[in-house]
């Protein structure tokens, strides 16, 4: 057994230097040069202020903005996670019931509008969810519904290569475009 002690500790040390420091630090340097914005989390800057990350969801509650999905962590960027409520959870059913009533729209509610995402930071909503919010946003902004609806359609990201993933709308992107539209 003692003959294994030196190889164990020396290899552990060498591999820590190689895979634990050289590997991530070299890649950090490479990323800073190749993809400087993505490397630091794809910040979205407006008038010199970081208004969020292009990849990470954030809370919107004002009726003049499109709203993201419910989040178990309240869009806390330091505490990702889902609700972890099971399908028979009374708490889940109560929460959905309340959210459906609050939306109060005609017709069935898009599922993503009343379910908490896995990460608590889902940046996207489904196109149907965005369409269902057009009426509220138009009223709050005093904009013609057709104009807002057309904006939503322009913001829909289709499936990658036509078949990968799901069609979605990035909420921050949509709201920034909406602010630009309203400013015109």
């Amino acid at each position: 057994m003692t003959e294994h002690i030196r190889p164990a500790f020396v290899l552990l040390l060498l591999f820590t230097l190689l895979t634990g420091l050289a590997y991530p630090l070299a890649l950090t340097g490479v990323d800073r040069v190749l993809f400087p914005q993505a490397a630091i989390g794809s910040p979205v800057v407006q008038k010199g202020v970081i208004v969020g990350s292009a990849l990470v969801g954030q809370a919107f509650a004002d009726p003049k903005y499109f709203h993201p999905r419910p989040s178990a962590s309240g869009y806390d960027g330091l505490a990702s996670g889902g609700s972890n409520l099971g399908p028979l959870s009374a708490r889940l059913i109560e929460r959905v019931k309340g959210d459906v009533a609050a939306l109060g729209g005609p017709g069935p509610v898009p599922a993503d509008a009343v379910t908490a995402s896995a990460s608590g930071l889902d940046p996207d909503i489904s196109p149907d969810n965005a369409r269902a919010q057009v009426a509220r946003v138009s009223v709050a902004r005093n904009l013609p519904q057709d104009q807002v609806r057309a904006l939503v359609e322009r913001q829909v990201h289709g499936r990658i290569f036509g078949f990968l993933g799901e069609a979605h709308v990035n909420v921050l992107e949509l709201n920034l475009a909406l602010d630009r539209l309203a400013a015109m």
């Binding site: 630090l25 490397a39 889902g82 930071l121 990658i160």
Partner: protein, 569 residues
């Protein structure tokens, strides 16, 4: 279940299948000691490592020596990782100023990473400094994966050799797996992740002021480098609490496909390596077929269950067309969420892009069963292959019983000693899983950790011990596992699942390596036929599955029945 969903699954699995042959053959050459494309660059590094560590690469070890080297290396890794986690407040790269990790959590986490489990009782972005992530956790992502591959190669040599007293040299196999396989692949995959938007920085966080004037602080770090080895090494320990559902770990449908590809690639290629080394590539394909049949069946069942949506939610006026979206991300869709959930559990990976706790009863049953079947579909890197070899040995034994002949596998006679050792290995899993679950279900201190009541609560417990003993690492994450009870008992389950499993397997390998190879005769059961694949699938289902059926009946099965009745808890 849509046509586009099937297309997504077919393309993803097709991309895995495309690399199985070249990667499998590359590994066979590498571990046979042949030169590969990477040797001009890396063999000086390899030789330097041996010199510094005082290793004679030509000196071979018996099964006991090989196992002892592996145990000493794991113990050293545990000590070092435990120390790093406890002392992280005094170490560099700690921009958020995290304190040391408490003792029971550091114990659990250190065991978790060195057994390739990566069970996370902590929340990454709120607990771990960048130094702990890189020089602590990620190092063991490499080394525990390399250890698994080394063990699988040692077991493979038992069939490739005859009359041999040795199984190879652990240090050499470990070094080669890390240097020539895991590190180069990780660099490639990390570069792809970076190009697709995954961050890689030493900054601690980003501060934003939202359009509504709210303040949002978003945790950051060296994510891409960690993500690559986390998937390739079937480790699964995420940089963030939400793991591969977090938009920084897995920002798009493209990164999602890459994540699934990376976690499947090596484990799916290892059966080919096995076949190549024992001189029958067909044997490798037969083993891979059995893995694929069960994996694809599992994906279809989970996808179907999730695509229906939750009828209790639909009844409240929610459109069912998106399926059950609680605990899922919009950008991935149901098919690729189901594939991820079933692959990660069939693989012993444990990364998640969906919260398994919120899956429908049958949707969550499948991942749990995939773990309980023994983590062989296709299983963790290395551990999946040696687990599968154990099932192959048991399958030819069952076939031998039916016709009254001494069973053979690849020319090696399977006798009483081998069967005893194989059975010793496979009883560890039910013992650890059912034993600890039963204990926890009687203990108020354990039950207070549950997030869900009713049968789903039992599922949370059963899943936790399955995940730990199976060295998987995924969770029904509502369970608050960061308590002394769970940190300690789950830690013990992880140790049993890794070491108490593999030592009998190594002993079996040692005994097989010493035997001669008998020529196949007309009475030999052909182990590359479709009949054998069917038998193997049957043995896995019966041996792995039946032991857990009563426990599953009290959890997800009764939950499915209650769903139809509309009962809530």
């Amino acid at each position: 279940m849509t046509l586009i969903g099937w297309l997504q699954l077919a393309v993803t699995l097709g991309l895995v299948l495309a690399v199985v042959l070249p990667l499998g053959r590359f590994m066979a050459r590498l571990f046979a000691g042949d030169r590969t494309l990477l040797h001009p660059l890396l063999s000086p590094v390899e030789r330097g490592f041996y010199r510094a560590a005082g290793i004679d690469p030509a000196a071979e070890q018996s099964w006991a020596g090989y196992g002892m080297a592996m145990l000493v290396f794991s113990a050293a890794g545990f000590a070092a990782l435990y120390a790093i986690l406890r002392l992280q407040a005094f170490l560099p790269f700690n921009p958020q100023g995290f304190a040391g990790v408490p003792p029971d959590l550091a114990f659990n986490t250190a065991i978790s990473f060195l057994t390739n489990t990566n069970w996370q009782a902590y929340s990454g972005e709120a607990t771990m400094s960048h130094f702990s992530q890189m020089a602590g956790l990620a190092v063991h992502n490499f080394l525990s994966a390399a250890t698994g591959i080394a063990l699988a190669i040692a077991v493979t040599r038992a069939f490739a050799r005859k009359g041999s007293a040795t199984l190879g040299n652990f240090w050499v196999d470990l070094t080669r797996a890390t240097l020539y396989l895991l590190l180069p692949l990780s660099i490639l995959v990390a570069l792809a992740f970076m190009a697709l938007g995954v961050p890689q920085t030493l900054l601690g966080s980003m501060d934003a002021t939202t359009l509504e004037g709210l303040h949002q602080t978003i945790a950051l770090g060296p994510v891409a480098s960690q993500e690559a080895i986390k998937q390739l090494g079937t480790n699964g320990g995420g940089f963030f609490n939400a793991n591969s559902s977090h938009p920084f770990e897995n920002p798009s449908a493209l990164t999602n496909i890459l994540q699934i590809w990376a976690m499947l690639a090596i484990s799916a290629a290892l059966p080919i390596t096995f076949g190549r080394m024992v001189g029958s590539e067909k044997q490798g394909w037969a083993i891979l077929s059995a893995m694929a049949v069960l994996l694809v069946g599992g994906v279809a069942l989970t996808w179907w269950a999730e695509a229906q949506g939750n009828p209790l939610v639909t009844a409240l006026g929610v459109a069912p067309d998106m399926g059950n979206m609680e605990g899922k991300e919009v950008r991935f869709g149901q098919a690729m969420s189901a594939l991820f959930a079933v692959a990660t559990t069939g693989l012993s990976c444990g990364a998640v892009n969906t919260m398994h706790d919120s899956l429908m009863p049958l949707g969550g049953l499948v991942p749990m069963v995939m773990i309980q079947l023994g983590e062989v579909l296709p299983g963790g890197v290395g551990s999946g292959l040696y687990g599968m070899v154990v099932f192959c040995v048991l399958s030819v034994f069952v076939a031998g019983l039916m016709v009254g002949r001494t069973p053979e596998f690849l020319g090696k006679k399977i006798e009483a000693r081998e069967i005893r050792l194989a059975v010793l290995a496979v009883v560890i899993l039910p013992l650890a899983i059912l034993g600890f679950t039963a204990l926890a279900a009687m203990l108020p201190a354990a039950l207070s950790s549950l997030n869900n009541a009713g049968p789903h609560g039992l599922s949370e417990l059963l899943y936790a011990y399955s995940s730990a003993a199976g060295n998987n690492g995924s969770a029904f994450a509502g369970l608050n596992a960061d308590t002394p009870w769970f940190n300690v008992t789950l830690g013990i389950a992880m140790v049993l699942g890794r070491f108490a499993y593999v030592l009998p397997v190594l002993a079996m390998a040692g005994s097989l390596a010493a035997k001669s190879r008998v020529a196949a005769s007309s009475g030999t059961f052909p182990t590359t036929s479709a009949l054998f694949v069917g038998l193997l699938v049957g043995v896995i289902l019966i041996l792995g599955g039946l032991q857990f059926f009563p426990a599953l009946a009290l959890g997800p099965v009764v939950e499915q029945v209650l769903l139809a009745a509309g009962t809530t808890f």
